[in-house]
Structure formats: structure tokens, C-alpha cells
């Protein structure tokens, strides 16, 4: 349980948000040319990092906008929040 600083609404309780998993997984540009291995990689395989992770969140019970955060999954400390399309901050 922690607080998330929504870039649009400010600091709110985590229960207002929906986690969207690992960020920066790019949708294939040419889906018809993908092999089964590449599909598996895109759809299922995850880094599932213990430590600093880039991830997507949605303020589901607030402004309903998507944004990214950088969070340490070993202690749930949030390092940075940035909007969709913005360049991710370097660790």
C-alpha cells in the first residue's frame, strides 16, 4: 500500500489506481510478419524485475488517464512519475 502522485490529479492512494504492468513494451509494427516466438515474447514474457521497474498505471477511480512510474518492486518506493510519451528517466 502506497501513495501515487498522479501527474494530473496529485497524490492519491494506490487503491484508486489500476496497475498496467511493465511499461515500454512496444506493439509490433508488422504483426503479420511476427514469428510465434516473437508473439510469445510480446504477449507473455515479462522481465518481472525485483528492483527498479518501469511500469504503466491508470488512475481508474480518478481522471482515468494512463501514465508511467518508476518503482522499486522490492520495497514499493516510487522513484519517478512521467507522462505517456515522455522519455523515461534514467535510473
Amino acid at each position: 500500500m502506497f501513495l501515487i502522485n498522479c501527474p494530473f490529479c496529485g497524490e492519491r492512494e494506490q487503491s484508486e489506481f489500476k496497475a498496467g504492468g511493465e511499461a515500454h513494451i512496444e506493439r509490433p509494427k508488422q504483426p503479420t510478419e511476427l514469428s510465434d516466438d516473437e508473439w510469445a515474447e510480446f504477449l507473455f514474457m515479462r522481465k518481472n524485475i525485483k528492483g527498479v521497474q518501469y511500469e504503466r498505471w491508470n488512475h481508474a477511480h480518478g481522471c482515468r488517464k494512463w501514465f508511467n512510474i518508476v518503482r522499486d518492486t522490492s520495497d514499493d518506493q516510487i522513484k519517478a512519475v512521467y507522462k505517456m510519451g515522455e522519455k523515461p528517466p534514467v535510473k
Partner: protein, 417 residues
């Protein structure tokens, strides 16, 4: 040869004030090399080592555990055992485990307190009713005992359930698997540890894996906090930390690790003599032999390794518990805790070889691994010893995420994930 536990050994040791019991397992330093190393000293890992030694004639085996054995999810779950899964592959896997549970205390000479008190799954809406009926039919076709109960029969089987049709999620019916039940989680780890130790398995605690050494596409051993240990076969059974180990060799797994919470109440007199699970409102409850209510909550939806969960998850579960069991309204909760569960996209486990020779993974058990402990150990041991899966775990390979042949138990598995 270890002395058997019996009424006579109990009496004999009573005379020496229980101070001279022999150690259930040794605490050895690692040797330089083993035939096989199991990474992770939980129930599944210890069972794997036990069956490797017992059924596959391997004697030079080590189990390495970063903390103490049974200190992870083995000691944190709500101890429910059942095999009423929808799909054939899952039914085969979980019922294989249930059959071993039925004789496990005798086999291990260790009382795992397996209690076939039945598990009842409730339906709260018409779709639940259809799904649950479908599942009982599927179970029966697979030779698994299952009956569908209407509301009156649910009330008769567990009288404290509120079956009023005026509550938010009324009880419309339920399924019952009478062979299902609970077991004592710690005893399972300790029983397998004692059995494995007797056959010469080294159980090495406080030994964290720091890296996996490989030569090309073949494993050579593990780097640990107690130095390098050589082995040709390495079986990883690290639950929530499976991805951490996989990342050491550059493997990616289809897993997300999330906190799952449980809680127990203060102990009270016997009030609920079965296990009741509710998929739709996500509440499940049973009573331990000490008298505590054992309550399982849900997972958080974010990845975390913190072994803590969010308060709103517990709150939601307790809301549901109170609506279904108004009699618990003045119960006080004693403890709450979290464990890190590794969840697969299809909510089914992985017991599989990998692209690296000699490296095997047993993971992805998510929220329901405890029930499978003996079967999982048996099948993983078979997979490691023969370098080929057993027919019961063939469907649970890593390649299913490439082929698309998933075993989708999400929602079908009688509990929300």
C-alpha cells in the same frame, strides 16, 4: 536409519523430557559437487529432492534455500487442498497430487495432518451456477468426485452461511468435493525434509543463489553465498523469485510476481468444519485445529516482492466474509501477512525443461501451489531425472506460450486469481 515416530518413541522421549529427540534433518555445509541441485527449500523443492532420491535412485542431491526451509509460501498459504479443476490436464495434475496426499503421512512417517473435510465452492449469480455445474460434470468425467448443491443443501452442509436471498451476493448454490480438505503446511515441508535427509539429500539453509554458471548451452553449477557448487542438473523451484533466478541466465519467463495476503483470527471453538470458497466475492475460510479462522484474500494487481499487500484487499475480503457469515462480526483478527506468488498468464503452472541443458523450472503456481506439493515434486523429479516430462506434466511446458496451447484455468479454477 532414522528412528520411526510412533506412540512408543513418544513415550520413550517423554521420560527424557523430550530433550533427546534426534534431529529431523542435518544442517550440512555444501559439498563441491552434486548430481542435482534443487534451488528453493519450500514444499515443492523438498518434495522434488525426496522423489529424486526415492524413485530415481539419485543420492547426491542438494536443496539450497536462501532462508530457512518452508519459510516462504509453504508457510504462508491457507493450506487448502482440492483437485476440482476444469481442464483435463489440470485435473490430471492436481488429482495426482491429491492421491499422494491421501497416503502421505504414512509414507513419510510424519503427520501432515491431512484432513479431508471437503471444499465447497459457492455460486452467487446465474453464470456462477452454470460454470460450477459445468465444472462438476467435467470433474466426474475425469474421475474426480464432485457434487452440485442447491442453496438448501449448502445451508445444511455449512449452517453458519447466510443464505438469505436479500444480501448483495446471495448464495444460489455450490459445489462440493468431499475428498478435498486441508493439511498442516509446515509439517509437509518438515516431513519431506526429514525423508529426503534420511536418503542422503543435503539440505543447505541460509544459502542464497547469486548466479548460474553455464558453458554454452549447458549448466555447470551455481554461485552461492556459500561458494560455487558444481552440478549437471539444476531444478529451480523458487516461487515468487523464479524470474530473479531466470534473469541470471538471461531467460525471460511469462510470470508476474504479486503479493497475496492471508489472515487468521483469534482462536475460537469449532464453528466451521469444512472449507468454503467463494469465487465471485473472493473470500475463503476454514478453521485450523488451533481454532483460528484461516482467511484467504486476493492478490494485488501490481508486481511487488515486498511480502506486504494493500489494506483495501483485506478490507474487501472481510466485507465479503461478514456478509456470508454474520456470526463472525465480532471476531478479532490476530495476524495478517503476505507472500509473493508467481502468476502465469493462464493461471497454470510450469514444470518444464528450458532452452538451457540441465536447467529445469517448476514455477507459476500462482495462488494455488500448496495443494499440488506432492504431485509437483513427483513430476518435477521425473522431469529432471529423465530429461523428459511425465505425461501428467507434459502440457505444463514453457513452450505452450509459443504454441498457444494454454491451459486456461483463469476463472475456471473455482477461485478468482
Amino acid at each position: 536409519m532414522k528412528n520411526n515416530y510412533s506412540i512408543f518413541s513418544l513415550i520413550k522421549n517423554a521420560f527424557s523430557y523430550h530433550e533427546n529427540w534426534e534431529k529431523a534433518w542435518k544442517d550440512p555445509e555444501p559439498k563441491k559437487e552434486y548430481e542435482a541441485i534443487i534451488v528453493g527449500g519450500g514444499g515443492h523443492g523438498l518434495a522434488t529432492a525426496y522423489y529424486l532420491a526415492k524413485k530415481h535412485n539419485m543420492k547426491n542431491i542438494a536443496v539450497v534455500e536462501k532462508g530457512w526451509i518452508g519459510g516462504g509460501n509453504t508457510g504462508r498459504n491457507t493450506t487448502i487442498i482440492r483437485s476440482n479443476y476444469l481442464w483435463d490436464a489440470s485435473a490430471g495434475l492436481y488429482d495426482h497430487a491429491l492421491k499422494i496426499w491421501e497416503g502421505l503421512s504414512q509414507e513419510l512417517n510424519y503427520n501432515v495432518m491431512f484432513s479431508q473435510r471437503g471444499v465447497m465452492n459457492l455460486a452467487h449469480n446465474l453464470q456462477d451456477v452454470r460454470d460450477l455445474k459445468r465444472r462438476t460434470h467435467a470433474n466426474r468425467l475425469n474421475g474426480i468426485d464432485a457434487v452440485y448443491l442447491n442453496t438448501e443443501e449448502v445451508k445444511k452442509f455449512c449452517p453458519i452461511i447466510n443464505t438469505s436471498q436479500d444480501i448483495r451476493y446471495p448464495v444460489l448454490g455450490g459445489t462440493l468435493q468431499r475428498r478435498a480438505g486441508t493439511a498442516r503446511h509446515d509439517a509437509v515441508a518438515w516431513g519431506y525434509a526429514r525423508g529426503a535427509d534420511e536418503m542422503g539429500v543435503d539440505i543447505i539453509q541460509n544459502c542464497e543463489v547469486k548466479g548460474i554458471k553455464r558453458n554454452g548451452d549447458t549448466v555447470e553449477g551455481i554461485e552461492t553465498t556459500k561458494g560455487f557448487i558444481k552440478a549437471k542438473k539444476i531444478g529451480v523451484v523458487a516461487a515468487g523469485h523464479s524470474s530473479v533466478i531466470a534473469n541470471m541466465v538471461g531467460l525471460k519467463l511469462p510470470l508476474e510476481s504479486k503479493p497475496l495476503q492471508a489472515l487468521v483470527s483469534e482462536p475460537v471453538k469449532p464453528i466451521i468444519d469444512t472449507v468454503v470458497m467463494s469465487n465471485a466475492v473472493h473470500a475463503y475460510v476454514s478453521q485450523s485445529d488451533k481454532g483460528e479462522l484461516v482467511i484467504g484474500a486476493g492478490t494485488d494487481d501490481y508486481i511487488s516482492y515486498s511480502q506486504k499487500g494493500s489494506h483495501d484487499i483485506v478490507e474487501g475480503t472481510l466485507n465479503a466474509i461478514l456478509e456470508l457469515y454474520p456470526i463472525f462480526s465480532r471476531m478479532r483478527m490476530l495476524r495478517q501477512w503476505g507472500g509473493i506468488v508467481d502468476i502465469c498468464p493462464d493461471a497454470s503452472p510450469i514444470i518444464s525443461k528450458t532452452s538451457i541443458k540441465g536447467l529445469y523450472f517448476n514455477c507459476g503456481w500462482g495462488t494455488g501451489g500448496f495443494k499440488a506439493t506432492p504431485g509437483s515434486g513427483d513430476l518435477f523429479a521425473h522431469t529432471i531425472a529423465n530429461d523428459e516430462p511425465h505425461k501428467l506434466n507434459a502440457a505444463f511446458n514453457l513452450n505452450r506460450f509459443v504454441s498457444g496451447d494454454l491451459v486456461d484455468e483463469h476463472g475456471a479454477a473455482a477461485v478468482a486469481h
